[in-house]
Symmetry: C3
Subunit: 263 residues, 3 copies
């Protein structure tokens, strides 16, 4: 399967898949708006009473533990299992894994009880989950791994999924191939929730294309290019954040692949 963020974006905008997100309070509005700007339909629903029914309507499920608590974790497990049964791809964003035992344990539990298609995290989070030493401060990863590509490959192999490790350069691997994506902009690090948005966008692409490795790469290309466009007239994190939605909506499928910096 070949990589074409433009082709998948075109499909996504035609089909407008529903992307079910059980995510954190901090970024819920932001990931919903990113999903909508890109061209898919977000739905946020976390009640144990409805998650199984809701996920069955969706093209992808995104689980994000950014502000986890017991009821929400149970809902994530239930939704994840229902998604697995229905063949709906699951993205896990293990926000802050490594910072507290509760976050690490919950991310591990989700990985063990739910078949995750793509694990999208920063280096510290992913390193924690594969047992490599890492420094995590709160929900931020501090310091770069010696080899982020190797970390992605290791995560892919060990966890049996597609690892999407974002940072100044992103690395995506299924344990076999490793792809590096050099799109994006430093201003992305100045707005909270841009990592969570990239997970949501990954969910959107998974809902539009089979092939988790390709979809994960394409999602980071699209999000990174939008970040580049958003930076053009930005005066700081506030205007950049606003521009990001405009840029996601304005992404041009016809030129997207030419702008991809994938190796």
């Amino acid at each position: 399967m070949s990589i074409s963020a433009g082709a998948t974006l075109r499909t996504l905008r035609e089909r407008k898949p529903l992307v079910h997100q059980i995510t954190n309070y901090v970024v819920m509005n932001e990931t919903a708006n990113a999903t909508l700007a890109l061209g898919a339909l977000p739905v946020m629903a976390h009640a144990r009473e409805e998650v199984e029914e809701m996920v069955a309507l969706a093209g992808a499920l995104v689980l994000n533990i950014g502000t986890l608590s017991p009821h929400w974790v149970e809902a994530m497990v239930a939704a994840g299992k229902a998604a697995n049964e229905a063949g709906i791809p699951v993205v896990l964003d293990p926000v802050g894994a490594g910072a507290t035992r509760y976050r690490t344990d919950t991310a591990r539990r989700l990985l063990s009880e739910v078949r995750v298609a793509v694990l999208r995290g920063n280096q510290g989070e992913v390193a924690t989950l594969v047992g490599v030493e890492a420094e995590v401060r709160g929900v931020e990863s501090i310091g770069a791994a010696d080899d982020a590509g190797e970390l992605a490959r290791l995560a892919g192999t060990t966890l049996g999924l597609v690892a999407s490790v974002t940072g100044p350069v992103d690395h995506v691997s299924d344990g076999d191939r490793v792809l590096a994506i050099a799109n994006g902009h430093p201003l992305l690090a100045t707005v909270t929730g841009t990592g969570c948005m990239s997970s949501a966008v990954t969910g959107c692409f998974l809902a539009a294309k089979r092939g988790a490795l390709e979809a994960a790469v394409e999602a980071l290309v699209a999000f990174g290019v939008a970040g580049e466009d958003a930076a053009v007239d930005a005066k700081g994190p506030g205007t950049f954040h606003v521009n990001l939605y405009d840029a996601l909506a304005a992404l041009d499928p016809a030129t997207l692949d030419a702008r991809a910096r994938v190796t």
Copy 2:
């Protein structure tokens, strides 16, 4: 009672009524800021321990089931009953009714246990609640009813309230009269929570004017005109969203009625 969005907006800005909102996590900041920009005072409080006391201070109560869960539903019922006893008007936004049984059942329960002044929803949600066939995808209504005005009238009659059915053209009915409001802009559909904002704005107008039909129409005029103004310089959903708050704050009571497209 006559319709004058300008006159009611002037009253609203003089009185600055408190509008109590028990709403969803995704849009809480957005509806609070829309309320404040318009000229009223928002308060978000959902604890069973305080909702009855809080709603007693308010000029209107807005209930929104966008990210419902059992504790929140109990608080909505309690707040709604307290509002009814105190003669405070209640707006219900049945987000996603029709998408899952839990949402449909909860919206029905609220309609049965609380006397709702205005039901503000999209066509799919309102159709679900009056038992008409509709397609709802997540929290989005897909496809237009053959006759949205007739749906509003039917909802008004069947449910014994004012139905405010929003879409490309909005329709408001008390079961007897049906009014169509053609203000607004397509960019409103590209930002999450604009429907929820229109429910909050409806609460603001209800807090400033007796006559639920008139207040509901005026609210949609005001919100629609703000949408039109916000679109002028917008480059996409991000800048439109930001402009919307500026436009709500800049709404001019003196020219608002001349811009109303009500039939």
Copy 3:
């Protein structure tokens, strides 16, 4: 200890302290982004299962009762006690104290069970907590106290902490000295959560400097100057809100002290 918002801001940006915030749903994204724009690292975590471990990693803890409920209150108490044991300063924002008994009681409980370094509230909230008569509407304070400086001094003495009473002019007191800060802009009152942001910024400054009185004053200088800068090109509350993040990120330590209006 002398007051220099510029010097502390420089320290803060070098150290990038983690600021743990247990805050309300309405402003979580906003206070996280304000923290990040200023140069510190926000972390939002509220689960009883992890707050003690998380706060131990932080340079300050900010407790905000804006959308309180029992589980959250227990987590705030636990986090506050853990912060006290570890010598980590605690900021309390008693949102809406005076509006409902639950809010007043919770704010009192937090003050009694947790050693609070800085109480940051509006006049109505702080007056309620020192037993002075005040009118609170929802979460807004209505009408100015005769002497806000005297209120701050009284709160400082009675409660044994630094009281940071914000309004058109802010007053900070440890019960002995009273400082007035005249920075800021009226547009700050048109955006929800700017009070909460000032509490978060207070947490950031406390994490970068010993001396709660000085840090609280410096935080309001920095936030007020950012408000002034954000107002320059603002067309209303929406653009002002966006500009505020740009302005926080662009604050210049070299010129900040010259712009401070502290008496």
